[in-house]
Symmetry: C2
Subunit: 216 residues, 2 copies
Amino acid sequence: MREDLILASKSPRRRELLSQMGLRFAVCAVDVEECLGPGEAPADYACRVALDKARAGVAAIAATVHADLPVLGADTDVVVDGDILGKPADRAHALAMLRRLSNRTHQVYSAVAVVQRRDGVEQVRTQLAVTDVRFGVVTPEQAEAYWATGEPADKAGAYGIQGLGAAFVEDIRGSYSGVVGLPLFQTCEVLRAFGLDVLDRARTRDASPVRSRIQP
Amino acid sequence: MREDLILASKSPRRRELLSQMGLRFAVCAVDVEECLGPGEAPADYACRVALDKARAGVAAIAATVHADLPVLGADTDVVVDGDILGKPADRAHALAMLRRLSNRTHQVYSAVAVVQRRDGVEQVRTQLAVTDVRFGVVTPEQAEAYWATGEPADKAGAYGIQGLGAAFVEDIRGSYSGVVGLPLFQTCEVLRAFGLDVLDRARTRDASPVRSRIQP
């Protein structure tokens, strides 16, 4: 059976979240510049990067049998006092991030963009979920122990809510899946605009979603 | 290496959540009566049932080498207008529950209790997470399609937030893991009172938690 869409992302967590929705998809790894423009607000930035990824995916599949499928891009940013925290460069950087997130609320901006090019016409939709995440106190000893587990190294904001980082998260207000990397409620809404109903697909097929990988 | 604790639960989702915390545990399936007392509030009910499960676990391991380990019990209830929704009896029941949850906010009460008996002394701790879960509109067609996937059948409130049910969840306020079945922040706090620090354990061992099963 044919794929429902293309996921333009290298993130294993986004693959897992899309699989949770029972969708069939092919993965297309894209590289886009992720660089905040002067005066660009986090909300605009997240939507722009998600859209850039989706467009890069569209370009990558243009000459393949998948060319007319919807392509999904996403971007997730950890924001504190208006600053975007990226992935930590090293141990000291990670510890500084965790110290900054301790005992307060920060925001996670998670954008999803879908682009489809069909018969020369391009359709585009974007949605954003902003989630408040409240951390309990993170002691220096806990931050050190957490760094030693290896989990923070490749995570924006130096934590993963779907892993041991959950021990720090007292409370969230918004989208859990958005904090993980793809806001599912919003993703389903966007996909519906492309004629893709998640529940309808899920009931008309077996439980194991097919995934393939496109080498651009 | 020895287990950190005993999980008194049959729920595969609770096993997954405890594993996420990197803990080593043995599973002890317990059966306790889950029946709301007259005039009992949902918060009291959830804590009581969690504690009943932990105590049943303590009784089950009394004659084993695990007898002095902390035993964790948990209870999760979906509550709307003060009514506790259990697991659906059949298709019509599930559809009625989903209709009731559509386009509004309900609550999920998720309690964790830990009991440890050592040298004749019993130590007990309980914590509760109450989470607001807001559903978007669930159309009758979507409810039917969702039922047909098989997911709602064994879920309290007829949905699973960690599965396709995420498509309905617009927003949560509180503990995501609590809605799944075990509030992790609160669980870590409770375990700390028993000298069990999750991050400290995680860094001093390899990544794969050991699980065994106790046959009482």
